[in-house]
Symmetry: C2
Subunit: 326 residues, 2 copies
DNA sequence: CTGAAAGCGCTTACAG
DNA sequence: CTGAAAGCGCTTACAG
């Protein structure tokens, strides 16, 4: 930068001003600086800028596991929007571990990111407030956080679970079981709640097995369920990973879907229409939600909005064959 | 840091030395510094460190699209290793666009990352050499780059395609078609080559349709193929996204696998065993390869190795039902 | 072993 | 509108 200034016979301050648009600069000066920049093919040192500004043009996105297609879709949408805005994205996987989340959020404050999109593994983590305290905006994705200053983009889990129950009840089912995700995760708890509420509303007895949001756990749980002599006639599965397990267990047990067992699954991964039979799913508008999360974040970063905002998004029920009705 | 120095009655240099382990420090000094750090709960400013050291503790990983489960698995493995090493990871999606790759690689040099894992969308891109020129190590993943200074972790695509052909020929097939990925992408070209070579070795005529590594393209191409009156009896599909499309087209056409059409697919996504019939696949050891890529990178970063290294990894053929044999 | 000092490369009040 | 100067918070030769 000193070289540029010398070559253009101006001060470094002027170079900085034309490059950053701060303050007005005489046309002749501007031209000279731009020429010098060109001739020397000068590129500002980002690290020095970062230090001076005490922030980096980076967005942190923290999820439990980017291998879950739900999150890879989310991260991709975030990256798209960030790229267009000139921001970079740092990915952080927590594996649902509060410790890992703590470590990563701390890293993000040290890194002085401009904003964070978080699917929390610990809604009350102090580091969330620390970020907010330091003026780093945060939007909660899928799962709320305790700190009221955060924005949030949430899916309507209760309603979605209810609509699955309605569909199956409408198809004549009474024994509808639910493969639940972890109850200590908001999404898991809400989907379970919606299921139980809807079942009770119909005077039916909820029947819950624990799949912990994992393929193997769900497989084991469903295998056990299928081994019962008087087993359920319908199954609702709480996310795509568990659906993989449920499908495997059902297949192992030689049970035919939807003839012997009707199935409705949360999430709508790319393969949902290709298994046999095609899966009826509750699709969360992940891409739209992630894009919205970024818009909320960008509003905060630019200072266009200071009041917290929270948006809730309905699922869409994609009726295919596995539910056996309609 | 000045505060810490004052409180411990030492110089900032000493504080830096105890915190970074550079040079030896008297035990008494060390204790005083550590106490002061504790009392003030001091955390070094990463941005200042970055500027001073002219690098950031960040690894850049650039792939075509993290939504492809192949790459989300790869990125996850990279992140795991990076996290354990205290590095952060910046994800970059190029969508197979040389321009986007150029932009991102430039960003990564500006960001002064310590290393890059790259699945290139432009093997001869000048930015690759620029990174290497500046001493930033780069390992090519899946696809080689032109610059010989880079390390590389590659899969044995030719051999894998050949083994698929062998399997099908062994099952009595003669008309074996191939749904190819983009030929301008190394993986695509190699898989195609392997297929053609193996076919010719058996005196069979290759029959290639273009799927461009995309679900929709593959679907259209396979639909057309299935509409032929004298259609192939076996199909090899060049990656998981195209398999999704091929499966859909086959299903649309009312064709039964493997009875009317035998199928072998590259990649082994989570759902491969759950479609009907379970898919015979060529599984690339993605996780192992990604971990190895990180080891290579870390060796370079630490300076433990200066000679380029290139490792090649075989696929494993997972015989399930769709191939109709064995 | 320890400290004073320079310097990484910017940005931004502050004067003029 | 322009420039001189301070300062962001570290690290690391260089002396002692």
């Amino acid at each position: 930068m000193a070289d540029v200034a010398r070559r253009a016979s101006v001060s470094p301050a002027t170079v900085s001003r034309v490059l950053n648009g701060g303050g007005s600069v005489g046309a002749a000066y501007r031209r000279r600086v731009l020429e010098a920049v060109e001739e020397l093919s000068y590129r500002p040192n980002r690290l020095a800028q970062n230090l001076r500004r005490q922030r980096t043009a980076t967005i942190g996105v923290v999820v439990s596991d980017i291998e879950n297609p739900h999150f890879s879709e989310m991260v991709r949408a975030v990256e798209d929007r960030a790229y267009r805005q000139g921001y970079r994205v740092l990915v952080c996987n927590t594996d649902e571990s509060p410790e890992k989340q703590r470590a990563y959020l701390q890293t993000l404050v040290e890194e002085r990111v401009v904003g964070v999109v978080l699917t929390t593994s610990d809604p009350v983590g102090r580091e969330i407030s620390e970020l907010l305290d330091r003026g780093i905006p945060l939007v909660a994705f899928d799962r709320e956080v305790a700190d009221a200053r955060a924005d949030a983009v949430i899916a309507e889990n209760v309603g979605a679970a209810r609509s699955a129950v309605e569909l199956l009840v409408g198809g004549g089912h009474q024994r509808i079981a639910f493969v639940s995700g972890r109850k200590d995760v908001e999404t898991g708890a809400e989907r379970l709640d919606g299921y139980q509420l809807a079942m009770r509303a119909h005077g039916l007895e909820p029947e819950v097995v624990e799949g912990r949001f994992r393929t193997d756990s769900a497989r084991a749980a469903v295998a056990q369920l299928m081994a019962e002599t008087d087993r359920p006639t319908a199954l609702i599965v709480g996310n795509n990973l568990m659906t993989l397990g449920a499908l495997a267990a059902v297949q192992d047990a030689g049970i035919t879907v939807p003839h012997h067992l009707a199935l409705v699954a949360f999430d709508d991964p790319s393969w949902a229409a290709l298994v046999d039979p095609p899966l009826t799913t509750l699709a969360q508008p992940v891409r739209r939600m992630a894009t919205e999360a970024m818009e909320l974040l960008l509003e905060r970063i630019s200072g266009a909005r200071t009041e917290p905002r929270r948006t809730v998004h309905p699922f869409v029920l994609r009726k295919r064959t596995s539910c056996g009705t309609g």
